[in-house]
Symmetry: C2
Subunit: 354 residues, 2 copies
């Protein structure tokens, strides 16, 4: 429950670029929450032994994700402000995937000694902006020195929808499969970054996919709207195929998808073409899209259609749940070969993770 005191840091800084090692771990501790909105009544926030979440007759959802420098991101590719926001958003996406609404986060951060204090401020500005967008608050965490890499571990707490959490499993044969937004754009952005193209670029297509990768959104509103209609729901963080596998892992079901129906936008197609890649691969295996994958029983499909018309929800039907096992993707009347080794992590072009 220790949080950095930027004010103190600044006062004690000698040079223009103040570094974490110049000020020390103990003197670093206390007020990043100055950058944050005031925690609502009923919560206990930063400064005590533990944070407190008020009673909720719906219970609480909680998710935790760790990001490490040079494994999950590179400082040359993403700014501290973008990283702070993205770390929050990817966790909120897990809450959205359960049909819930994010309410509070905790951040554990490990700072290398030569990390610039100004970058910490930018990081928490990004965290704060992401929180503000979804009306959530920072209630605690931990701040430590790192002997090597920058590490950020975020926990997010959210309230489930009125009917409780919407699980990953539960899809039934006959359910129709929908995805929100567009797929593959984030991976297209990663391809650009790995080829030395930096945010912000001057090309409209480039900006669009770089934005998808560096500044994704969490589909919280869509999750609360679709959740009550869904048999099963998850967010697409590891690529569509990987999520379809997870969704059908139990229950003796499979899926049949039409490749042509998968929403891949023009910017993603442009980038794929430029680098001699298949844009569909980006959508199927790329990952980090943070869109929702939803199984809707046929009887409620008309309600989804109504949501599209009345709420401006961007959602596309891509296939159907079957009682035959396996992931089947049809393309131009033929069945595509699915390569499970092409998961997000193995598909990555120039990323240095395994």
């Amino acid at each position: 429950m220790d949080i950095l005191d930027i004010g103190k840091l600044k006062r004690s800084g000698q040079s223009e670029k103040t570094r974490v090692k110049d000020v020390g771990e103990r003197s670093i501790i206390s007020v990043i929450h100055r950058l944050q909105a005031i925690v609502p009544m009923g919560y206990v926030g930063i400064g005590d032994d533990a944070a407190y979440l008020p009673p909720s007759d719906k219970g609480w959802l909680i998710s935790q994700d760790m990001l490490i420098e040079d494994v999950h991101f590179r400082w040359g590719w993403i700014t501290p402000e973008q990283l702070g926001a993205k770390a929050v958003i990817v966790n909120m996406s897990d809450i959205a995937a359960m049909g819930g609404v994010p309410k509070a986060i905790l951040t554990s951060i490990a700072l290398p000694g030569d990390f610039e204090v100004e970058a910490i401020e930018a990081l928490y500005r990004g965290i704060s902006k992401a929180l503000d967008r979804y009306r959530a608050v920072l209630i605690g965490g931990d701040t430590v020195l790192s002997p090597d890499k920058f590490t950020l571990d975020v926990s997010v707490l959210g309230e489930p929808g009125p009917h409780g959490p919407v699980l990953l499993t539960g899809a039934k044969p006959g359910d129709r499969l929908f995805v929100t937004g567009r797929l593959g754009a984030s991976y297209a952005g990663l391809v650009l970054l790995s080829h030395g193209i930096k945010w912000p670029s001057t090309s409209v297509s480039y900006r669009s996919v770089l934005q998808a990768h560096l500044a994704p959104l969490a589909r919280v509103q869509a999750g609360t709207q679709l959740g009550p209609l869904a048999h099963a729901m998850t967010d697409i963080s590891d690529g569509l195929i990987s999520e379809l596998r997870a969704m059908t892992r139990f229950g003796g079901i499979g899926v049949k998808i039409q490749a042509e129906k998968i929403p891949v936008d023009e910017a993603t197609r442009d980038v794929a073409q430029e680098y001699g890649k298949d844009a569909l691969d980006f959508a199927l295996y790329g990952g980090e899209d943070y869109e929702l994958l939803v199984a809707i029983p046929p009887s409620r499909v008309h309600e989804v259609e109504k949501l599209c018309l009345t709420c401006g929800l961007s959602i596309t039907e891509i296939g159907v749940v079957t009682d035959t096992l396996g992931i089947h993707v049809g393309r131009n009347g033929e069945e595509m070969k699915i390569d499970d080794r092409k998961g997000f992590h193995h598909f990555a072009v120039d990323r240095d993770q395994s």
Copy 2:
């Protein structure tokens, strides 16, 4: 919400010492929870986008602490099993400090490529033992590759006591100050480790203080018993002086402590003497004791005394809250000079953190 699949790892291991890099991040994922107790009805555990905590009319407490190799611990000094247990316990101690009962944890773990799979198993055996002791469960987390140091970030969720969370602040002039257990032993253990003495040693004193450092306990029962009587409560993780400062930071109060009353056991005195140190310094500045510091109004002191007699609670009165600012420690009729720079981190003998 990804957790390692030890079974799969073992099957895919070629040599006796299977390492994380031999099996890869993606194939590592799924069943550390085999080592864990089954999550109670009403919770959603590992495997979905987010974990779910059932409704509680008391709300939930949450705390998060990050441990990094060579910053917070050294592998030569502590076993993976001890580390796993300690990581859970230090978080549970934060819940105990709010008068709450820990119920569930999430673990984010970053594994270097050459980390042994057997060590992961030992780590989670330690986590599991700590959970079992307090009847709590593992409900989720994240597992990632680390480019360098081993990192473990634990979140713990707990239910507050019947009267809600017991805060760090709230002590009033006239309140009597109590601490549970003994202080300084953990630091004495750290002194031994920094001088090359390893667990388990053959000396009774050594074993006692090494145990205090490597395998601390969380004062959950004491917290639930003392919480309802207390104006303020916290756990002693950073040394008594540091916690007294935190407790008196707001509210225009101070404290008066009697050095002779501070519970420092014989084993700690033995080690301090052997290394030419003052055992009282260990208790005042050492940290990592995870005992509770409690401010009790005079009208309820007799209830604390009754708890000692009927519940075997080990608790010692060490001083009083005053309406004069500052931390005053009397020793042999004179006032000791308090050195605030002697915090846990700066006092450390041979630790390599700042």
